[in-house]
Symmetry: C2
Subunit: 632 residues, 2 copies
């Protein structure tokens, strides 16, 4: 085994400073045509060459006159002007020059025979004339340096006689994906393969930060091949990003490669995720070795590549936008590193609520779903629930405020309804977090959610949901929006190879189960069924294996790591599993009555009552929509 067990643990700010210092100031500029310069960054202030207008121009349609010829005019003393001698017709924009020094509007003159007009009031000198330089005066500064060129800037630059400008060159960023296990999107995916996607995220980020990405074909974990690729990329670019091979595994060559080809500045930073970052120089070009997990990769890219690209592209530095929010649950963080936690934000009543998303370094979807990032400093052990925290925004606060926060049980219909809502009024969104029905009830109690999708069976009465709301939310004036009738059933492999017939098969020696987390409505249903049949949960193989969504249960069965699970029809269908119905349940929405009047909630109800929504559910199967949208 050839493992590089030792990584440094450098403070991230220190590492960034070191990296930027060592990378140097290699801004380059180039002259480009103004036309097509949208979004580029000026390297110098730009001064007008011409004035605009560069002549005295009529500001009106009318006649050009000599003001002194008109001074006697009044309502009782009409003045007659003769063409050629006294006036000429002008359109807006026509040049006004000697001997004329004023314009009278067409509405203020009357014809008085051929080539004669009469006026009843005097024109003062220079009236209705746009003086030379009214818009732009030659030599005045049109835009400063380090300015991102906007459409109106292009207009003003051209008007000022500028056709070429000096801008910062876009730094070229080479991106090398590596790894024997990765395959290109669209290629056949075998067990153990990973679709290469990080480099495509980097490509997009490089463009957004003002650089020019060059993505290379993936290189397998082979020292010589990697060496050749890295050397070439350093030659062809200003900055190189190599992904991954940055860790301490037996096939992680990046640190050694950087050392062999140039200089290793550091290996390992005190962040989570992103620890095994590598920074170095090859042929004087900064190289960033980025870890493989997508979120680690993103964190390291955002810290080092973003700062360097921004600097070299000459863009103005912007403070990152932050908001204060209330943390919805306790978060413990290590003193060993600074942690970057993806945060879902929601505005419920007057509070901005921050809910941490999956902290796993491999969960790209946590970035897709994130509204912001919470940085927990290395010196902090975390935060308590209810504490006020500062969140760096990834989205507009406005979008966040116009979002229904749904916390509770998972069902595909939440995605469907959210999408239909957004399509009807793109100002509104629905964000749904899956923490199980009881988790939803608790979120409502803590004022963290607008609605909680729940399906909670009361064992005594056999009635869904209402008893739970009464019991746990008695101090809030609550309503229940009726959702759907949902078929629950046993999921098992296609064609049911283990001949499962019912819940009692869970007791079989040869059956592996996969369960849902505590508080999930489906878990409560399973426990209810076990109790009813006097079955002992402790004897079930896999009872302790908990998944948080129907789809995750279905996926576990599809992949063969379990034989049997309980969930909804749509999940079984999606994963091509057999489905044995065990009953119908009420999947409803608990909502504080106070929210019922809000526009976005009304839109949500409108959507779930719509024929389009019902048709969609019918096409999926497994749902009934008798009372959908009814408010209790």
């Amino acid at each position: 085994m050839d493992r590089n067990l030792y990584l440094e643990n450098m403070d991230v700010d220190e590492a960034l400073k070191l990296f930027l210092d060592r990378s140097g100031q290699k801004q380059q500029t180039e002259k480009i045509p103004v036309i097509g310069s949208l979004g580029r960054v000026t390297a110098d202030p730009v001064f007008a060459i011409y004035s605009s207008p560069n002549f005295n121009a009529s500001a009106m349609d009318g006649i050009a006159v000599k003001a002194k010829d008109t001074f006697e005019a009044s309502e009782v003393n009409l003045v007659i002007l003769k063409k050629e001698n006294h006036y000429k017709y002008v359109d807006t924009g026509d040049s006004i020059s000697d001997p004329y020094d004023a314009v009278i509007m067409i509405e203020d003159i009357a014809e008085a025979g051929e080539d004669r007009v009469k006026i009843i009031s005097p024109a003062f000198p220079w009236q209705h004339i746009r003086p030379i330089g009214e818009d732009i005066v030659a030599n005045e500064m049109i835009i400063p340096s380090n300015h991102i060129i906007r459409p109106v800037d292009i207009g003003a630059l051209l008007s000022g006689g500028i056709t070429e400008i000096a801008v910062y060159k876009k730094p070229k960023v080479g991106i090398i994906p590596t790894g024997t296990e990765i395959v290109e999107p669209g290629e056949e995916l075998r067990i153990g393969d990973i679709i290469e996607s990080n480099s495509r995220i980097f490509e997009g980020l490089v463009i957004e930060y003002g650089g020019e990405p060059k993505r290379y074909a993936p290189v397998p974990d082979d020292y010589e091949k990697l060496k050749a690729a890295l050397k070439n990329a350093a030659m062809e670019n200003d900055i190189v990003v190599i992904n991954a091979g940055s860790s301490a595994g037996s096939e992680d060559y990046t640190a050694k490669l950087v050392k062999d080809l140039g200089e290793l500045i550091l290996h390992g930073i005190a962040t989570k995720p992103g620890k095994p970052a590598i920074l170095g120089l090859i042929q004087g070009k900064p190289v960033i070795g980025v870890p493989g997990y997508p979120v680690s990769a993103w964190v390291v890219f955002e810290i080092f590549a973003k700062a360097l690209i921004n600097k070299w592209s000459g863009r103005p530095i912007k403070e990152e936008k932050t908001v204060e929010a209330v943390l919805s649950k306790r978060m413990v963080s290590s003193l060993k590193n600074k942690e970057y936690v993806r945060i879902k934000l929601g505005k419920v009543m007057d509070n901005l609520i921050a809910t941490p998303l999956n902290r796993g370094a491999g969960v790209t979807m946590s970035l897709v779903r994130a509204d912001g990032i919470l940085e927990i400093p290395q010196t902090s052990e975390g935060f308590e629930a209810g504490e006020k925290i500062k969140v760096k925004l990834l989205k507009d606060l406005e979008d966040i405020q116009n979002t229904i926060v749904s916390i509770g049980s998972h069902d595909l219909i939440m995605d469907i309804a959210g999408n239909m809502m957004h399509r009807k009024n793109s100002g509104y969104n629905l964000s749904s977090a899956h923490v199980g029905s009881m988790g939803g009830i608790m979120a409502i109690r803590r004022g963290e959610a607008h609605i909680a999708p729940i399906h909670l069976l009361d064992e005594k009465t056999g009635i869904y949901n209402i008893e739970y709301i009464k019991k746990y939310l008695s101090n809030i004036d609550m309503a229940l929006i009726k959702g759907v009738k949902r078929v629950q059933g046993i999921m098992t492999k296609k064609n049911n190879p283990k001949s499962i017939k019912g819940i009692e098969d869970l007791m079989r020696e040869d059956i592996g189960f996969v369960n849902r987390q505590k508080g999930a409505g489906t878990r409560i249903l399973v426990d209810y069924l076990l109790k009813k049949s006097n079955l002992d949960a402790e004897k079930i193989r896999g009872y302790e294996r908990e998944m948080t969504t129907h789809m995750a249960v279905a996926a576990a069965i599809a992949s063969g790591t379990a034989d049997m699970g309980v969930g909804v029809y749509s999940a079984a269908k999606a994963m091509n599993l057999d489905f044995i119905p065990i009953g119908e349940e009420d999947y409803d929405f608990a909502i504080p009555r106070a929210f019922l009047g809000e526009d976005m909630i009304e839109l949500f109800i409108e959507v779930i009552m719509s024929q389009e929504f019902k048709n969609y559910l019918q096409s999926m199967g497994g749902y009934g929509t008798e009372n959908t949208g009814e408010i209790i």
Copy 2:
């Protein structure tokens, strides 16, 4: 004369609704590769095809084991595992499959002879294994419809097995510049010519709003040529913008063209600027006739083209960001129309101050300089100074807050200093408004500016600036930052064709003067000199012709509309004029002492004291920098 004198005056909201309704819903979609889809807008929600990972994967470097083989392990009961039988080495990301169901980290094992390791604690089932679908579960929604694709979305889509997605087609927008008077940028500019720049602003805006611009070569004001161009553009595009010919002048053909080729929906909206807008349909394609003045053009484009492009490109509708600000001066507006006023914002103390920029429809620079737009409804006659108004932001509020608001006398050095500041710290800006020295003093008194550049001569003492501050700003604790010694002089045409020798030449019959506005330091200087020489201002030809900057005075002389003016050397030099020095004055900065500690003010002082700044001034000539940056 063939003039179309009558324009409608339709309410703008009504006009927009009519236009959008008549334009119809012609959104088209297309399938494109995910790679390269950055910034496009999804037409449908996108559901994952594969799970990610799509196998159970080791989350650590270590060994894969069967959990049940390890249950007995403890510190007092080492368990020895044999390779092949009990474990295999795995790297992070390797597939874990039957018979293995747990991973032990490399750090937690010890070698125990060849192909043997020992462990001291049990592994629980599924530990350190990323379950199938941990990131993405097949069939879950990755992104909704009407979503602008970001870099992380591309990563998630690829990981979920998506290689192609349905997006909205970018609406094609044809842009036709017209006018016999326009010339292309870079072409020779004769008197009466206008550089064509509006179409280039539109190009940029179309791109920003998600459309695909197609700009045609300019067409002269010729009915048949215009007809052919418009017909062709309607055929080749989804939307056509024609600029200009929309007014009621003798060569304004657009309305007639639209009528002849299709249907004229309306001509004339109740806005200022932008009144002569034209809306129509040709071959069923929406056509927008945009007026010629750049600001009018921008207003009409922003109202109609933006709304339509946004709608057809499927982008989520965003509320426009507004702020509340205090209006710095009275603004009267007509009841005949809704007015769009460009606003400069500045944060002074705790107040956001809104200062209207030049309201002229031809002043592109008012758009370049604007921080926001004030919409004065048709039903309003305007606002009083000090009134709170709502301003639509064109820039980030943060940028506005980090801007030194300078109001007062004009000098090129303000641009130079502002640019150097911005270059040293791109987080800070300097915005300078030119209202003359007394205007600056008054702005400080009203709390609307951080600094006021002034050069005000006290007639009695002959001392600059200090007396004025004492007199007009006695109730504010003020400081004076010494600026530059500045040479003032008489500007006249190159080679002094009228043999001007001094201020007394102003009395000559053959000399036309161009003056500065009341309250300008230079005006005060001129009056002082006239008084000293017992000259009668009333007898000066052009005394009443007021310009608001040195450059405007210089431009008037350069263009031959005046023979003589007073201003600074840099302006004369820039316009290639002769310059007869008449004295040196103190151009200083009045500043409330309270602002001296602010970072951006300190940066400003640092800049004007820098050698770089002094060198720059020396290279321009006409400035002395003995005490620059000194605080009094």
